[in-house]
């Protein structure tokens, strides 16, 4: 067994970085190929994380430190992958050729494009933003759409998730808790603002999430309205006018807001078709990669030497993603040890 075996990890988000760091610890030679100009993926754009409001930047920095010294190709995508008798031969967009014994897909997800839900008017109404925009605003404090002294703000759960017509049947899993996190942060900044969360179901499955929800209700006075927003328009003074049903009282409900935040969900990476085709891997109906088994073999694909880590196989939280990245590294380790 030679320990200089190489593993190409596609994607330099948190899953890719954690997998790479673990593989190096196990003694192998990982290489990260990242399409953007920096490591960190979606998390690098976030401000802080549920449920303890830990800064996202700290997590990304610690992961970046863990991969220091590893061969990293930024601003680079995979141009071609070929399966040869002895592993994979990859050509990168900058012309680099890599021979690798295993390939890990850590290609993550795309955030649903909120403007596709035309009725919510993202990109049309002055004060409609997405969850990501709000995180950027928490980071930078600059976004014209966020008013100076908001009196009322709404959060719309499940934007593009659990929505067959938007092409996504899946629950995006992290948005309920993210909405509560963002609602709490918003309320902390603007204690006098009324904050409304419009939800279909509240899915607060993780440890401490329910406590976070109770905190939002009891201490922050955030209002939870069970009903999906059906339509948004703009009032004469430029505010956001929202229609929903208050399904608990069975009545139509109307409210005008100073800001509306759309909780755009996790959907499959828009590049998945191209990536899957390159290695002839099947995609599931929802566009995510298909694991060999959805219970015990999440990180394995149907191809020898091809592994998955993180949200390329479906919506996941950060702790789940990191745990799966380590699990993928172990699976790669086992596989490489079987190679002669």
């Amino acid at each position: 067994m030679t320990m200089d075996r190489k593993i190409v990890i596609i994607g330099g988000g948190i899953a890719g970085m954690e997998t790479a760091a673990c593989l190096r610890d196990l003694g192998w030679t990982p290489v990260i190929v990242e399409q953007s100009s920096a490591l960190g993926g979606h998390v690098a754009e976030w401000n802080c994380l549920f449920p303890d409001l830990a800064p996202a930047g700290k997590l990304v920095d610690s992961l970046r430190a863990k991969v220091e010294g590893i061969e990293i190709h930024l601003d680079t995508v995979i141009a071609a992958i070929n399966y040869l008798r002895k592993g994979y031969s990859l050509v990168l967009s900058d012309g680099t050729k890599l021979q690798s014994d295993a390939v890990v897909f850590a290609t993550g997800f795309s955030l649903f494009r909120a403007e596709k839900k035309e009725e919510y008017g993202y990109g049309i109404y002055d004060h409609v933003i997405s969850n990501k925009d709000l995180e950027l605003w928490f980071n930078t404090g600059s976004d014209e759409r966020v008013p100076d002294n908001p009196k009322a703000v709404g959060f719309v759960h499940c934007v593009g998730s659990r929505d067959i017509k938007a092409g996504n049947t899946q629950c995006s899993k992290v948005c309920c808790i993210t909405a509560i996190k963002q609602a709490i942060e918003f309320k902390e900044k603007f204690p006098k603002a009324e904050v409304y969360c419009f939800y279909m179901d509240l899915r607060l499955f993780g440890r401490k999430y329910e406590d976070f929800y109770i905190h939002a209700q009891k201490d922050m006075g955030i209002h939870f309205i069970r009903g999906r927003v059906s339509e948004v328009s703009e009032t004469i003074d430029g505010r956001v006018f929202v229609k929903a049903e208050d399904t608990l009282s069975g009545k139509p409900l109307r409210v005008s807001l100073d800001l509306l935040v759309l909780m755009a969900g996790i959907v499959c990476n828009r590049d998945n078709d191209r990536l899957a085709q390159a290695v002839s891997l099947p995609l599931d109906e929802d566009g995510f990669f298909r694991s060999r088994d959805n219970v015990s073999q999440l990180t394995l694909s149907d191809k020898p030497g091809v592994f998955f880590a993180g949200t390329c196989t479906g919506p996941k939280t950060i702790p789940e993603t990191l745990a799966e990245a380590r699990s993928a590294a172990l699976a790669v380790n086992e596989y490489l040890k079987t190679l002669k």
Binding site: K218, G221, R226, S249, K251, P252, L253, R254
Partner: protein, 112 residues
């Protein structure tokens, strides 16, 4: 002029002009009210709900939507047996909630 039909009243809840003051005063006295998640355990176990429509869930929601009259009607139907307090998963002291609300309604007499 009588056209034989007229404008129909809207049943919509408009949160822009919903009076939440009574709800807020109740929450000061019984903060547990804020933690209701509308599971319906209270109404399901209620001795009189099936007979007269009393529902703690609807009382709380009615206050949040400014529907004082409906809430008042329901209050008079509660027997204060405490079964709802026993089943509430959020541990809301519903019996205390009802009693405090009755006091608030009593003190607001003539204002409502």
């Amino acid at each position: 002029m009588d056209f034989g039909f007229s404008l129909s009243p809207s049943s919509a809840v408009n949160l822009d002009n919903t009076d939440m003051s009574l709800y807020e005063r109740l929450c000061e006295r019984e903060p547990g009210a804020k933690t209701c998640m509308a599971c319906g355990s209270c109404s399901a176990t209620c001795t009189v709900s099936a007979i007269n429509g009393m529902s703690v869930r609807k009382v709380i929601l009615g206050l949040q939507r400014g529907q004082f009259r409906d809430v008042e009607k329901m209050l008079s139907r509660c027997m204060l047996c405490g079964k709802c307090t026993m089943v509430c998963p959020r541990g809301i002291n519903t019996r205390h909630l009802i009693l405090e609300l009755c006091r608030l309604y009593g003190s607001k007499e003539g204002e409502l």
